[in-house]
C-alpha cells in the first residue's frame, strides 16, 4: 500500500515533458525517451456511409522507452456503437527499434506488433488490406478473434523544420489464411513557429504543430492494388502543454470503400524518468 501511495506521489511530482507530433496513424523516427512512460488515450469516431451506424473506437496506450533505440507499448482497446454494445476488442503489443545511431537524412525505424483483437475493433490504428463495411453488430463481431502480426518500415526525415514520414505496412492474420495485407501512411508536419518565447505561455504558437496525413490499404497478396481499398486524408493539430499533449484530426474518406469521416482525438501524458524512479523505489539504483 505504501509503495502504491509512493507511486501515485511519484506521478504527481516528477519533472515532466511532452513533445508530441500531430500524427495519429503515421510514425516518425522519434522514440520514447529512455526510462520515460507515456500514457495515451485515443478515440476514433467513425461516420459511416449508406446509413450504417456511427461507432466509437477507444484505445489506451502505455509506452515505455526501454533503451534509447527501443520503445515498447501495450495497447488496450474497445468499441461502442449506438443501440448495440460496448465491447473490449483486444490488445496489442508493439515494439519499435531504431537501428541507426544519431540523426540522418532518412531515419529508418523497424516496427513489430502482435495483435490479439476481434472483428469488433474500430480504432483504425492503421488501414491495411481491403475495405470492410459491415452492418453486423459489435456484440456479434466480438466473438470473432484474430491474432495478427504486423510489421512496418518507418522512414522519417526532418528537413528545415518539417518532418516527413513514410510508413510501409505488412500484416499477417495468423488465425485465417488471408495472405499478407498491405498498407501505407504518409505524413508531414511543422511547428507553427520556430522560436520559443521567454515567458511561460499556454496558447502561444510554439506549443502547436500542424500536419497532414494520408493513409490507406494496398490490398493483399491475393489482390494487390488500390481496388476496393480505403484511403483517408487527415489534417491534424497538436497542442503541447507541459506534461500533456492534446491532438485532433478529422480524416476524410477518399474512396467508396472508406468511411465518410473518422474523427480522431488523442490525449497524452508523459512521465519522465519513470523507470529509474520506479527501480529506486524497489531498492534498485
Amino acid at each position: 500500500m505504501r509503495r502504491l501511495l509512493s507511486l501515485v506521489l511519484l506521478l504527481g511530482t516528477l519533472p515532466l515533458a511532452a513533445q508530441q507530433n500531430p500524427y495519429f496513424v503515421t510514425y516518425d523516427h522519434h522514440m520514447e525517451e529512455l526510462g520515460n512512460l507515456e500514457i495515451s488515450s485515443q478515440s476514433t469516431v467513425g461516420f459511416q456511409k449508406q446509413n450504417l451506424g456511427n461507432y466509437l473506437g477507444q484505445l489506451m496506450e502505455l509506452e515505455y522507452g526501454v533503451t534509447g533505440w527501443w520503445s515498447s507499448s501495450l495497447y488496450l482497446e474497445g468499441a461502442t456503437a449506438r443501440n448495440d454494445a460496448t465491447v473490449f476488442t483486444g490488445f496489442r503489443l508493439e515494439n519499435r527499434f531504431k537501428p541507426l545511431k544519431g540523426e540522418h537524412k532518412i531515419n529508418p525505424v523497424l516496427y513489430f506488433e502482435y495483435e490479439n483483437i476481434n472483428e469488433a475493433s474500430r480504432i483504425r490504428k492503421e488501414i491495411v488490406g481491403h475495405a470492410e463495411t459491415t452492418s453486423e453488430k459489435l456484440s456479434e463481431l466480438r466473438g470473432e478473434t484474430a491474432r495478427e502480426l504486423e510489421a512496418k518500415l518507418i522512414l522519417s526525415s526532418n528537413v528545415k523544420n518539417w518532418n516527413i514520414a513514410e510508413n510501409f505496412i505488412v500484416e499477417k492474420n495468423l488465425t485465417e489464411d488471408e495472405g499478407y495485407e498491405f498498407g501505407y501512411a504518409l505524413g508531414v508536419f511543422r511547428p507553427l513557429t520556430t522560436l520559443a518565447t521567454g515567458g511561460e505561455c499556454r496558447f502561444c504558437r510554439e506549443n502547436f504543430a500542424a500536419g497532414l496525413e494520408l493513409y490507406g490499404g494496398l490490398g493483399s497478396t491475393e489482390q494487390f492494388g488500390f481496388k476496393e481499398t480505403a484511403h483517408y486524408l487527415a489534417p491534424g493539430i497538436v497542442w503541447n502543454v507541459g506534461n500533456s499533449a492534446i491532438k485532433i484530426s478529422p480524416a476524410f474518406g477518399l474512396t467508396s470503400g472508406s468511411d465518410r469521416m473518422l474523427l480522431k482525438i488523442g490525449y497524452t501524458y508523459e512521465i519522465s524518468g519513470f523507470g529509474q524512479k520506479l527501480a529506486h523505489m524497489f531498492g534498485g539504483r
Partner: protein, 126 residues
C-alpha cells in the same frame, strides 16, 4: 508476393545504404562540418530566455544537479563548454541512442540554437 518482398527489402536496403553512420562509434563527436557551424542567433542573447524555457521542459530532468535522475553531464562543465556552438547543436539534434541521450531534431532549428545560447550563458554565470 516475391516481387513485393523484393521491393520492401530494397527500400530497407536503400534507407540503410543512404545512412552510413556519420559519426565515430567509439567517441561521441560532431562531424567537422557540423562543428564549424555558427549560431545564427549569436547576436540576439536575449533569446537565451526561450532556451532556458526549453531546457527546463526537456533537458533539466537529466542535466540538472538538483534532479534525482541526473544522468547527463552538467552543462556548465568545462567538457561541455569546450564544444563549439555547432557541435552542441549537432549533439542536441542527433542525440546518442546508445547512451540514452534523446535526439531533439523534432524541435525547430531556432529552439535548438536557443538552447545553445542558454548553455553558453551558463558558462558566463560561473
Amino acid at each position: 508476393m516475391h516481387k513485393l518482398s523484393i521491393v520492401l527489402l530494397m527500400l530497407a536496403a536503400f534507407a540503410f545504404a543512404q545512412n552510413a553512420p556519420t559519426q565515430k562509434q567509439d567517441k561521441w563527436e560532431a562531424p567537422a562540418d557540423a562543428a564549424a557551424k555558427k549560431n545564427p542567433l549569436q547576436s540576439k542573447p536575449e533569446l537565451a530566455a526561450g532556451g532556458k524555457k526549453v531546457f527546463d521542459r526537456l533537458c533539466k530532468v537529466c542535466h540538472d544537479s538538483g534532479s534525482v535522475q541526473q544522468k547527463g553531464p552538467h552543462l556548465d562543465s568545462p567538457d561541455v563548454q569546450a564544444n563549439s556552438d555547432g557541435a552542441l547543436f549537432w549533439k542536441i539534434s542527433s542525440g546518442n541512442s546508445r547512451s540514452g541521450m534523446p535526439n531533439f531534431s523534432s524541435l525547430p532549428d531556432g529552439q535548438r540554437w536557443q538552447l545553445v545560447l542558454y548553455i553558453r550563458s551558463l558558462a558566463h554565470k560561473q
